[in-house]
Symmetry: C2
Subunit: 527 residues, 2 copies
Amino acid sequence: MTTVANHSELTPLRFLQRSVEVYPGKEAIVHGARSYNYAQFGVEVQQFAKALSARLNPGDKVAVLAPNIPEMLMAHYAVPLAGGVLVALNTRLSARELAYIMEHSEAKMLFADTELLATTATLRTEVPTLEAVIEITDTEFGGTRPDVVVDGTYADFIALGAGPDLPYAIADECAPIALNYTSGTTGKPKGVLYSHRGSYLNSLGETFHQGFDARTRYLWTLPMFHCNGWCTPWAVTAAGGTHLCLRAVREEPVWEAIDGLGVTHLCGAPTVCSIIADAPQAHALESSIKITTAGAPPSPAIIRKLQKLGIDVVHVYGLTEVYGPFTICEYQDSWDGLDDDARAERVSRQGVGMVQAESARIVDMDMNDVPADGVTMGEIVLRGNNVMIGYYKDDAATEAAFSGGWFHTGDLGVMHPDGYIQLKDRAKDIIISGGENISTIEVEQALASHPEVLDVAVIGVPDEKWGETPVAYVIRASGSTLDSKTLAAHARTQLAGFKVPKTIHFPQDLPRTSTGKVQKNVLRENV
Amino acid sequence: MTTVANHSELTPLRFLQRSVEVYPGKEAIVHGARSYNYAQFGVEVQQFAKALSARLNPGDKVAVLAPNIPEMLMAHYAVPLAGGVLVALNTRLSARELAYIMEHSEAKMLFADTELLATTATLRTEVPTLEAVIEITDTEFGGTRPDVVVDGTYADFIALGAGPDLPYAIADECAPIALNYTSGTTGKPKGVLYSHRGSYLNSLGETFHQGFDARTRYLWTLPMFHCNGWCTPWAVTAAGGTHLCLRAVREEPVWEAIDGLGVTHLCGAPTVCSIIADAPQAHALESSIKITTAGAPPSPAIIRKLQKLGIDVVHVYGLTEVYGPFTICEYQDSWDGLDDDARAERVSRQGVGMVQAESARIVDMDMNDVPADGVTMGEIVLRGNNVMIGYYKDDAATEAAFSGGWFHTGDLGVMHPDGYIQLKDRAKDIIISGGENISTIEVEQALASHPEVLDVAVIGVPDEKWGETPVAYVIRASGSTLDSKTLAAHARTQLAGFKVPKTIHFPQDLPRTSTGKVQKNVLRENV
């Protein structure tokens, strides 16, 4: 018999409620000169949520465009507490890309950091649902304010919050809590819906695998807009740990935090590992730090460098559609006995399902498991509570992604005899650069929009710093003398800077299959 | 949209599946000369479950009467894997008490350790539903086999398991996984139903609060029959840790395990703490151990003794109805600054809801929160996913227990200003002795069944070793010269030995209220 006495709907909101009650005086958030204890964290979230709830209907979307600052953390609780759905926006997107996402999500409000206001200037006129753009004036922002008109400030807005505290509870654990946009197989970003239940369980999984507890001091090097920071805004709070905010992931502030703030954990793309390992400030640490990294396997050289500093590296694999990490490369004691190269090869594998997830599979076209021989390629498919609700307003794409009862990652990999999966190729033509997804198709469309471009193919090539970087192969129209610089400038009017290829080749033709498809594998082999 | 791709029913069965896949060669169970790696653990559970599934209908009860041996761990997975519900029996119960539980639970099969066969001798004839009693012949049992006929051995039984492996999955996460009998407000034990969902979430909570990981080596000092060992059979397995089994909690084997097996964690009643702290073998440890204790607050003296040995003590509070621990006395850094007595007083509090649980409340008769002043008494009420499904075949008791949408513990306590609860009295007339519940009413009924007893009242009195111990006040029939020894012997024919009062007083009368109820508080004050 299920009753209110023996059943509560799972929600990460409970984690904040508990830490406010248990650790009111404990440091919850540190951001430069600002800091909040858990009581203050709770008070501000309630203020924010009450102000929001006066303007929202249940399920309304609220967008936030900000670096990893306290207000972004607050939004992870305040928006769902007010019955809304959080849309955390990638801070590197162009105005055009933002407009698409704001329109598609039908966001009612946008909270934007001063530094990022420039890209929001036209949103109020372009996005019909958008009722207000509210500026977050971060005390740690030292730059000049762009000349953009807004509807108010965050401080004034939350001051409107009134009435009794809202309950840290929800009516349906399967209801959405967040909407995250990702580059998919088509050029347009897709909206990935997360549920309260999935976020709750993934948070507990992150807490277990990263070993968060009340002594944890988590440095925010992973963007919170990226899969809601792998649910870490909720997980670190669940553990009663301390969030150490950061406006920008650069050598200096990162090492200042490591040396001055007692960092115990951080996450990020391999670039974050490189920034830390290669910094001039790098030095051996007294107490060890754990870095959890994804996007591409960390290179053996980087792992060795970090270990020498006293930093342990944990390698995980996932996608936006699975709340961030889904598999983890669990270290096996027996690997101690391997030589460096063999051990590095093991550690670079994507691994096994996390404790709150199901087992990953590698399947052929008929959904049969491929042999676990480490050689036979198949698609990585995943399922369970850490798979998204679906793509927002795109039932066809959701159905296709869930075909056969499993989420199709589009990634190709092999299954090793020990049950560890290893990623071999990305079927979806996604480039992961600095931890961000770049759809090759989207880049191709931007380049092809130049009148002198006849045909184009974009591939990802390995890059020491970014993991991968896009490279374009462009067939010019007859007689055209279009050069890289001009074409890149054209692309930059449509794309975020990090998506624009740094290298553009102009070959005579592109290798094609008999059916006319560009053979990207041939391009990749010739890099 | 909830589909098979993005939703799995929560079950602790997943934890074994994962650890078998991820850590096949890792030590999962150690028991004297026997040990199992995770692959072997999985194989035996599957064998056991397949043999069971040939005999069970979904939801059938399977009882196990055994010390903390590997077969008891296997049963925690094999019975639910076969679609059954596990009834783990208290090894200290009398034949008569066992018969009641077996009949009430309608158990179809009983697996019993050789040493405990004597109390099962008449069950086959007394319990109509019971189809077979199967003997578990533990390699570590050194005693003489009682002369009791059984239907087969565990080894022969599981050898019958055939066919493909059963899926580590269930159709409904709210379905029962276990049935645990507890002494309640009436004399008869009540059957407490646990769900897969509750067990799963409580396991993750235990994993977080105890800090289990793949390096954990958990010593089984807490009986697995007690709230399914607080879900630890599932939690340690989830973490990929190692179960260290124990037939009996005595100084020698416990210290042998600590010294020889690398114990990192253990749990138990305060008696377990005393056994460890007061043992002649006790010595300071190189690496620290965490003991989680419940039933009564650990005494400051014991805490100090254990800390000197390098053992950390965590104090938790719960009941059978809430899967074992529900609150934990989370240590606050600010307590470091208190003097010893003040700190001991803080640590002795029952604390706050665990991470997977809701907040505990202390309420008056109208379900209003009492003032958080540390003085005003009220009833401790709890709710959420870690509250039982209900009492088996006792809807009236379930309804009463869940009145007002909260589970009524029957325990009286106060709420401190910091949100920590503290237990003050047990309204349900329960004595907790050596971690086991004793219903005073049940003991009173047993004593009153002697023809020369006119009236009786039983109370719990503090006991250095057992926490509490029962003491009886008996009014003899006119002219009777009945003595303690004779009356205790009479009681022992109906009760487990630990429930029989060691001290029996024969006063002239009992203190009573105006309405005739015995004033047990007066008896307690005069002890």
